[in-house]
Amino acid sequence: MTRLIPDWEIRITNFGLGYILMCLVVAIAATNTGNNGLYLVLAGLLAAMVVSGILSRRNVRAVACEIEAVGEVVATRPALLRVRFENRLRAGTAQALFFLHEGLPGPLWIDPLRPGEKREVLVEGAFPRRGIVHRPDAGLLSRFPIGLFRKYRRARLPREIVVYPFPEIASVAEAPPEDARGGRPHASRRGAGFDLRMLREFAPGDDPRDMHWKQSARMRRWIVREREAERDRAVVLTVDNALADPEDPAVLERLERAISRCAGQALVLLARGGEVGLQARGVRLVPSVGRAQRSRILEALARLPAIPAAGAPDFPPLRRGDHRVMVS
C-alpha cells in the first residue's frame, strides 16, 4: 500500500525550492550592488519564509482529524467514512486544507474552519485490502500560506477499522445429508427452505410471498406459511493460513483469494440459515447462525494472519457432527 500521508511531515515544494533559489539570487544582487531596495526585498522574502513556516505549522497542527467507518467496510468496495475536523486554535481560522484519502479521486477541499469550529463530513472511500486499519492512509494536507511547503497530518482513528474481505461467491460446498452426519440431534427450525413447518397468523416482518391466501380467505385473517430451514447443518469452513513462505507475494495472493472465497461461502450458507463455523491455524469459531456469526466470521477472516508453515499449530479438532470444508 502506498503511503500517502505521513504522521506529520513537511515537504518542500518545487515552488519552495524556486523561492529559495530566488532568495539567493536577490541576496547576491543586493550584496553586489548595495541597492537597499533589493535588501528590502530580500528581507521581505526571508521574513515571509519564516512567517510562512509558523503559519502553516499552526494551520495544520491545530486541526484534529478523526475518521470513523459508517457501517461495514469491505475491501475494494466503497465504504462510507465519517470524517470529523476540529480547529483547536483559539484565534486563527484554519484554511486552505485538503483531506486526502487513497480511496478518493483527489484531495477533498475543506472550507475554512473558524476557531474552535467542529465539522463532520461523510466521504466515500475504499480500502484495497482486508485487514485491520490502525493507521489510516488519510489525513490533512495544506500548502498554506504561500505554498513553500506541503504539510501533512495523518488522521486519527478513535477505534480500529475492520476491513472485511471481499466475499467472492464461488460454488458453495453442499453439506452432506443428515444421516451422514452421525445422527446429530437437531430440531427443525424456522428458515427459508421449501418444507412447510406450520401455518400461523401474519406478523409484521413476514414476507408477503409466504401468505397463504386460501387459508386467509377461510379464516378471514392473514395467515402465512412458516417454512423450515432448508437444512439443519453445521459446516466448518477452513482456511489454511500456514504458508511455506509468508513473504512470497504469489502465495500471499492465493491466501487472500482463499479468504475471499471463504467469506463468500460463509455468507451464502448463513443466508440459507445454516450453521457455519470457521477454522484456521490458531483460529476457531464454533458453528452458529445469524448476523452475529456473520460478523464474527468476517472479522476473523479480516484479522487472519499468514503464518509460516514451520511450527504452525494444527487445526483445532471438530465437534462431533461438524463437517469441515477446506476452502482454497
Binding site: 531596495g37 526585498v41 528581507a43 521574513a47 493507521r135 500548502r143 498554506f144 477505534r159
Partner: protein
C-alpha cells in the same frame, strides 16, 4: 477528469482561476517603473488594458488561451522589435528589460496551459517587482512595498490552493483564502521580522541610491559654512529638503528653536568668509549629559560639515566612530565620513543667550558707503543698544523682505542698503552687522536655522532648507555676544508649532519621508556598524546593571528572602510546565523517540520520514541481540500512536526496562 487534465493541461476554468489569482499583483507590480523612467506611461497603460481584458475574460469563465503558433509568432516578432529597440530607439537597458518582462508576463498570462506556466508568470512578475523596487528612490516606494506584499501574499496563498486542484474550484474556494485576519497577522509578523533582517543583512557596498536631498546643489552651495554667498542663500531657503532632525524634551523646545552653525567676520563683494583659524577654540565637554534629556540631532552634512548647535549648551557627544574639529567661536566641524552625522548636545542652565567666542568684524573692512549710512543713522548716538534699535527700526520699516532681490549693481550689500532695499535674512543680518561694526561695536554674522516642523508622533523637529536663517551676534553692553535678529518678522521662519489636522498629516508624510530617506535608502555599512555598536553598548549596560543587581544580594534579609521565594516560584512554574508538556507526550512515543536518537547516534542521521519498522530494522542490525527489545518498543509505539491504545502501568514499566537495556547495549 476532463480531456485537458488527461493531457496534462489546465482545464479552462482552472486556468481562469490562476489568472484571477495573478492579475491583481500583475497590475500593481510595474507601476513604480513609470516614475523611475523604467517604462513609459503609454506602455504601462497598454499593459494594464491588456491585463484588464485577460482578467475580465477569466471572470466570465472564458480565459484567453493563445495557441502555441500565435505565441511563437508573437515571440519571434518581439525578438526583432527588441533588436530594433536596442539598436535604433536606444531606450536604455532598464526600459528594454522592463518591456521584455511586460511582454513576457502578458504572453504567459494569455496562454496558461500548465501549472508550471503559472509559476513562470509569477517569476516574471517577481522580476518586474525587483526592477521596480531597485530603481525606486521616492519614499512612496514604502507604500508600493506594502501594497505588493499584501497582493503577493494573497496571490501566493491562492496559487498554493490551486496547486491541489485538477479542475476549476468553486468561486468560494479562492475567495476564502487567505482570510483577512490571517493576512493582517501574517503581514504584520513579516514586517516586524523584516526590519531586523533588513538592518542585519551584511552591507559590503555603499548604498546604490542616495537620499535625494543629499544631492541638492542649492543647499550644498549655501551651506559651505566657511563661505556664504549672499546671492545663493535665497535659493537654499527655497529648498524643502531636510537639513536635520532633532529630538528634545517638550520643555526644552524654545531653547532649540535657533540653531547656530557658523560665524562670519570677513566680508568682501557679497561673500562672507571666516578668518583662517588661529588654532583650537573653546571646547565643549563630551561626557554624558547628566541631569536632563539631551537634544539628539541627526544632521545631513553639506560640504564642510559644520554642526548645528543650540545656544547655551554645555556638552556635545558625537556618535561612536565620528569626531569633530573644534574651531573658534564654538563651531564644530565633523571629520569626513558618512554624509549624515548624529550627535547629542546637553543644554546647560537657562541663562541669557550668548554666542561663544570673541571674533568680530574688523571696522576697517566695512565699505565706506555702509559706514557713512550707519553714521547718518546713529546721528551722534554712542549707546550701542540705541544704535542697534535705530538700525533695526530702519531695516524693518524701510526695507522689504524677499527671496528674490533685484540683481545688484556693484557690492550687493551696498546695493541693498542704498538702492534696492529688498533682500532676505542674510542681507538684513549682514547690513546690521556691518553697520554695528562701523560704529565700533563688536559684531558678526551668524548662520544657522530657525524653527522647524514638529513631528507627528515624536518630540522631533524637522529643519528644512526654508528654515535656514542668518542673524547677528553683537556685544552691546560688554557682557558678551547677544543674539540680534534684524530681519522683519515676515522673513523669520516660523517657530516649531503643531498645526491643523492637515498639517499633522503632512507631518506624518515628512516623518515617513525622513525615515525612508535616512533609515532605508541611505542605510549603509557604517550605519550598520553604528547599530551594532549601539547594541553592544546596550548589552554592556545590561551587564553593568546585572552586576549592580548582584549587590542587592547584600540587602537586608527580607528582600533577599523575597527574591529567593520569587526565584523558587519561577523555577517551580517552569518545572511544572516542563512536566505538563512531557506528560502530553505518551510514554510509548517518548520511548520511540529515544530509539530514534539511539539509532541516530549509531548511524549518524535518521530522516524524519523513516518509518517505525525501518527504525526497528536498522537499530536491530546496529545492535546485535537487541531485536526483541527494539521490536517490542516499536510495536507498543505503533499501538499507542496509531491504534489509539493507552498503555497500562505494566506495559510502561516493561517499556522502561527494555529501553534501559537498549541504552546499555548501545
Amino acid at each position: 477528469m476532463s480531456d485537458a487534465s488527461r493531457r496534462g493541461l489546465l482545464p479552462s476554468g482552472l486556468a481562469g482561476g490562476y489568472l484571477e489569482a495573478l492579475a491583481p499583483a500583475a497590475a500593481v507590480a510595474p507601476i513604480p517603473l513609470v516614475f523611475t523612467g523604467g517604462a513609459s506611461l503609454r506602455v504601462i497603460l497598454l499593459y494594464e488594458a491588456a491585463l484588464l481584458l485577460l482578467w475580465w475574460r477569466a471572470r466570465r469563465g472564458r480565459a484567453v488561451r493563445l495557441p502555441d503558433l500565435a505565441l511563437n509568432l508573437a515571440g519571434l516578432g518581439y525578438f526583432f522589435w527588441l533588436g530594433f529597440e536596442v539598436s535604433v530607439l536606444r531606450h536604455g537597458l532598464l526600459r528594454s528589460v522592463t518591456y521584455l518582462l511586460l511582454f513576457t508576463a502578458l504572453a504567459k498570462l494569455a496562454s496558461l496551459k500548465t501549472a508550471g506556466e503559472a509559476r513562470t508568470a509569477l517569476l516574471v512578475l517577481f522580476l518586474l517587482t525587483l526592477a521596480a523596487a531597485s530603481s525606486s528612490t521616492h519614499y512612496s516606494s514604502l507604500f508600493y512595498f506594502a501594497a505588493i506584499a499584501l497582493l503577493g501574499f494573497r496571490t501566493l496563498a491562492r496559487l498554493a490552493v490551486l496547486a491541489d486542484f485538477s479542475e476549476a474550484p468553486p468561486q468560494r474556494v479562492l475567495r476564502s483564502v487567505p482570510t483577512p485576519a490571517v493576512s493582517a497577522a501574517g503581514l504584520a509578523a513579516a514586517a516586524a521580522l523584516c526590519a531586523p533582517l533588513f538592518y542585519g543583512l551584511p552591507r559590503l557596498k555603499g548604498p546604490y541610491a542616495m537620499a535625494p536631498f543629499r544631492l541638492d546643489d542649492g543647499l550644498t552651495t549655501a551651506l559651505t559654512a566657511d563661505r556664504v554667498d549672499l546671492e545663493s542663500f535665497g535659493a537654499a531657503k527655497r529648498s524643502d529638503r531636510v537639513v536635520l532632525r532633532l529630538t528634545t524634551a517638550p520643555e526644552d523646545r524654545p531653547r532649540v528653536v535657533r540653531l547656530r552653525e557658523a560665524v562670519f567676520t570677513v566680508y568682501r563683494d557679497g561673500v562672507w568668509t571666516r578668518r583662517p583659524s588661529p588654532g583650537r577654540g573653546e571646547t565643549y565637554p563630551s561626557g554624558s549629559h547628566r541631569g536632563r534629556e539631551p537634544v539628539r540631532i541627526d544632521l545631513a552634512l553639506f560640504a564642510k560639515g559644520f554642526l548645528f548647535l543650540p545656544y547655551g549648551i554645555d556638552s556635545v557627544r558625537l556618535e561612536a566612530g565620528r569626531s569633530a574639529y573644534v574651531l573658534p567661536d564654538g563651531i564644530l566641524q565633523a571629520t569626513s565620513g558618512p554624509r549624515n552625522v548624529r550627535y547629542e548636545v546637553g543644554l546647560g542652565r537657562p541663562e541669557p543667550v550668548r554666542g561663544i567666542g570673541a571674533s568680530a568684524i574688523d571696522p576697517r573692512s566695512v565699505p565706506p558707503e555702509i559706514a557713512e549710512y550707519a553714521a547718518k543713522l546713529a546721528d551722534g548716538e554712542t549707546d550701542p543698544a540705541e544704535i542697534y534699535r535705530r538700525i533695526e527700526e530702519r531695516l524693518r520699516k524701510s526695507f522689504i523682505y524677499t527671496l528674490d532681490p533685484p540683481a545688484p549693481r556693484g557690492d550687493p550689500l551696498v546695493d541693498f542698503l542704498l538702492r534696492s532695499r529688498a533682500g532676505h535674512c542674510e542681507y538684513f543680518a549682514s547690513a546690521a552687522a556691518m553697520m554695528l561694526a562701523s560704529r565700533g561695536i563688536p559684531a558678526r554674522l551668524v548662520t544657522g536655522s530657525y524653527g522647524g516642523e514638529l513631528g507627528l508622533f515624536s518630540n522631533s523637529i524637522v529643519v528644512r532648507g526654508e528654515n535656514l536663517h542668518a542673524w547677528v551676534e553683537a556685544d552691546l553692553d560688554g557682557s558678551g555676544f547677544s543674539v540680534l535678529d534684524p530681519t522683519p518678522p515676515s522673513g523669520v521662519p516660523p517657530a516649531a508649532t503643531r498645526g491643523s489636522l492637515w498639517k499633522r498629516l503632512a507631518a506624518l508624510g515628512r516623518e515617513v519621508e525622513f525615515f525612508y530617506d535616512r533609515r532605508i535608502l541611505g542605510f549603509e555599512s557604517l550605519d550598520q556598524q553604528r547599530f551594532f555598536d549601539a547594541a553592544r553598548e546596550r548589552l554592556s549596560g545590561v551587564a553593568g546593571s546585572a552586576s549592580e543587581w548582584k549587590g542587592t544580594l547584600s540587602l537586608p534579609g527580607l528582600r533577599r528572602g523575597f527574591l529567593a521565594i520569587a526565584g523558587a516560584a519561577a523555577i517551580a512554574i517552569l518545572f511544572r510546565e516542563w512536566r505538563r508538556r512531557r506528560q502530553q507526550v505518551p510514554a510509548a512515543t517518548r520511548a520511540y523517540l529515544a530509539l530514534r536518537r539511539l539509532l541516530a547516534r549509531r548511524i549518524g542521521h535518521v530522516s524524519p520520514a523513516t518509518a517505525p519498522d525501518e527504525v526497528a530494522r536498522r537499530l536491530a542490525e546496529a545492535l546485535p541481540g537487541a531485536d526483541d527489545d527494539v521490536r517490542s518498543v516499536v510495536r507498543l509505539y505503533e499501538a499507542s500512536a496509531f491504534g489509539g491504545r493507552d498503555l497500562d502501568a505494566e506495559e510502561e514499566q516493561d517499556l522502561e526496562r527494555r529501553l534501559h537495556r537498549l541504552k546499555k547495549l548501545a
